[in-house]
Symmetry: C3
């Protein structure tokens, strides 16, 4: 718990109202009560300020007079809320030290925590304050930067590089072989050794069961500040620019380059060998089949309908070319009868 003036001293913002008010946690406007700090991130919910039971609120400058509650005025209340929440709920790291069942073939800083049953192979370099959960595997010559955390059952194949302050969730697999085979005339596949690495920048989060394949010859590269949700598949030699966020279940095929600050919606797919510009937003469920050269929002998903409407409407999808031809024919017939 913190006094409002202590919060502002740490995180900035202008304080209006009693500086001695104490807050213990963050909450939404609707659910906040005594001891809670709520926030108004979107002006359209301003009416909820009226009934708000919070001890204090975070508001933007244009909302500073909309309430008489003790309040912190800041340019971006949602970001401020996130920072307050971080203060109230810091990461709950296990104590430093190597569990006696861990198999660690390198020396690591005293600040490092390695959980039961984890294996760290020869040549790995583990930074200060790194936390490696139970059942992880860190392959030969892997580098993990200061302050990064692996939750349970994370696998990092040999030679891959993880930056500082990264979080890898359970079941993530970094550096498995890319899907590279040459096809013989009889259809047999000849494996192409995947000799590149995965190189992940600083402050990256990788979701549970997400997979990032190592490069074929060059590396697969994930920029600084990238956020990856769960169950994402990133193929060999993909490059993702700084601060791009990718939602769950997305698949990105080989050698595609994605710019900085993009946002890729859930279950979207991006085929191989494309280039996606900076600041592109791809809607959920959209398959990107060509490069996107300009910032903007791009979509290619389908509306859901009642099944009966879908049957009625979508039967025509197989006959769009015929429909188009009939429209042209009608126009030509009408032009003859009724020349413009």
């Amino acid at each position: 718990m913190l006094r409002l003036d202590e919060l502002v001293a740490r995180l900035g913002g202008d304080l209006l109202g009693d500086p001695a008010v104490i807050v213990r946690r963050v909450a939404t406007l609707d659910q906040a009560g005594e001891g809670d700090l709520a926030f108004l991130a979107n002006r359209k919910y301003a009416s909820r300020l009226g009934d708000c039971q919070a001890s204090a609120v975070i508001v933007a400058p244009d909302a500073r007079e909309l309430t008489t509650l003790p309040r912190i005025v800041t340019a971006d209340p949602y970001v401020y809320f996130a920072r307050v929440a971080q203060l109230f709920s810091p990461p709950d790291n296990p104590p430093a030290g190597l569990h006696q069942t861990a198999v660690v073939d390198v020396s690591v800083p005293a600040s490092v925590s390695i959980g039961p049953g984890s294996t760290i192979e020869a040549g790995a370099r583990i930074g200060e304050n790194v936390v490696i959960g139970p059942g992880c595997h860190v392959g030969r010559d892997v580098v993990i930067g200061d302050g990064s955390r692996l939750h349970a059952a994370v696998t990092i194949y040999h030679g891959c590089v993880i930056g500082r302050d990264c979080v890898l969730h359970a079941g993530a697999v970094i550096g498995a072989d890319g899907f590279g085979f040459a096809r013989e005339r009889d259809g047999s596949w000849v494996k192409i050794p995947q000799t590149g690495r995965v190189v992940i920048g600083d402050d990256v989060e990788v979701g549970a069961n997400t997979t990032i394949d190592r490069g074929a010859l060059d590396d697969t590269v994930i920029g600084n500040g990238v956020k990856l949700d769960n169950q994402i598949q990133i193929a060999h030699n993909v490059r993702i620019g700084d601060k791009t966020a990718v939602a769950g279940c997305v698949g990105i095929a080989g050698s595609t380059t994605i710019g900085a600050r993009c946002m890729i919606g859930g279950q979207a797919g991006i085929i191989g060998h494309l280039v996606i510009a900076d600041d592109v937003v791809v809607s959920a469920g959209t398959l990107v089949t060509k490069s996107i050269r300009r910032a903007g929002v791009y979509t290619g998903n389908l509306p859901v309908q009642s099944h009966l409407d879908w049957v009625k409407n979508f039967a025509h999808l197989r006959h769009l070319d015929d429909m188009a031809a009939r429209i042209r024919a009608l126009e030509q017939r009408l032009d003859k009868i009724d020349p413009a």
Copy 2:
């Protein structure tokens, strides 16, 4: 192996024919032979009864006279078949006891089995007859109800709750952080601590490599009797009603609420903050982008075509608005020439 009268004594149904017939396993009508118990679940396959080599069959009341084989008459032959199969193939649980390589920081009932290399952290409460396979991680303060089974390599993050008689398959991850970040003006993401839990009801099955994220402030909730296939992603603060079944590869985005007894087809996606009513069926591959307020079947997927037909027809998808405008123009021209 069981005599038919023993089966009926245990599972109900009316027995016609020799009660002393012995059956050893279940089989389909086509493949059944001596010692097999087959079933007719769908009247349209009734003709197969004629050649059936089974020692006995399970039939519905309206099919009781379609065969002279020894038979069990029951309202739902497929459910009856499932129950017989359960009798013949009970779960093959390992013996109770803690493997010497397990790291268990709590006391557990004597009926519990914990496999090699699994870790159970402080504060966890493990019910009677729970089976935890090899290489699992059960975090601090997790609760696992009586009779639940974790197969290999399951991870449950701190504080999550698993009900009774649940089955979690290998690689499932319960309670990883939800994908919650606030965006700063320069595009950087500030992590919002995910302080809710995952709360799973009784009799729930979770497929291999399925992920269910913990809530941001409130919990993510999975109802009783829910069945989740493999590779499903369930985001933070999702709520799924009792007995809903979700097929493989589905993604459900944050804060969406799904009703009871729904059936969600494979690779479907449901975006965030929606409400789906009870008894809704979503077809495979459908992206649900708005709330569904009434029971029924909903679809939004695409017909597959030969690639040439697809090229021909789908080129028009980028020009539907133009096609619609040309139809309107034709109608107006024709109205002038030929007023109704």
Copy 3:
């Protein structure tokens, strides 16, 4: 490093130019330098031969005179490149032997390597030169053929069969229960025990976090030479023919049979109980909802558009039936005015 004449002695092909040239690695035409062996797999890149800095190149017979560099002439340069790359980058297997923390309940050949914390249950049969990485679980009565490799954290449920020379990447789960339940009238699900196995042929690669479910009564079968990328879900009783390749994030529903030498694009889905012929290619993101009886390319995905164009065009998808009716009406009106 190898001399060109040594390479040709091992892998075949015709050598033109200095046989004593030494190559150390493979590279693309663009990036190759001193000591590199480049390849021209596609005649359309022939112009790049001019500037190529490689020490030697691999070319097809029709390109043999397009360069004066030392060159190996072979029918399929890309396959040749793959074989050379294999020579330069052989699999980096750990030494034979059982790690002291492995829990191995069977006797295994002296050539086998089993990593830290892995468990091999009773009845399992492990072939010569098998490598099992750290944290794997091999269930009761599993069979693994000679030369196969499991990377970290692979789970194989009881009774499943893996052929020779297979590679299973981290987090793969073989043989979890299929998604089989009978539905009671109140919507409850009764589990149908899954008593079949997964049977995988020789020379199969299974990607990271891919899941293959065991059969319900019969087996799930993966043919020889099949290549599966990451995050694929293969349901119970699926059968996949020899040499078929499946890209990442594909889902294949229960009891579907896929032919030999098929190529299934990323994020494609195939619903259950279908039959797909040999030599079928399914494009990325396509949902296959009916059987495909003839070889060929099949597609059913959507073009991506700017969001504004999508809004404009796709609103009409809900009204295609109306559009079709209006076209018919126009034709009928015009036929009356202007009979053909």
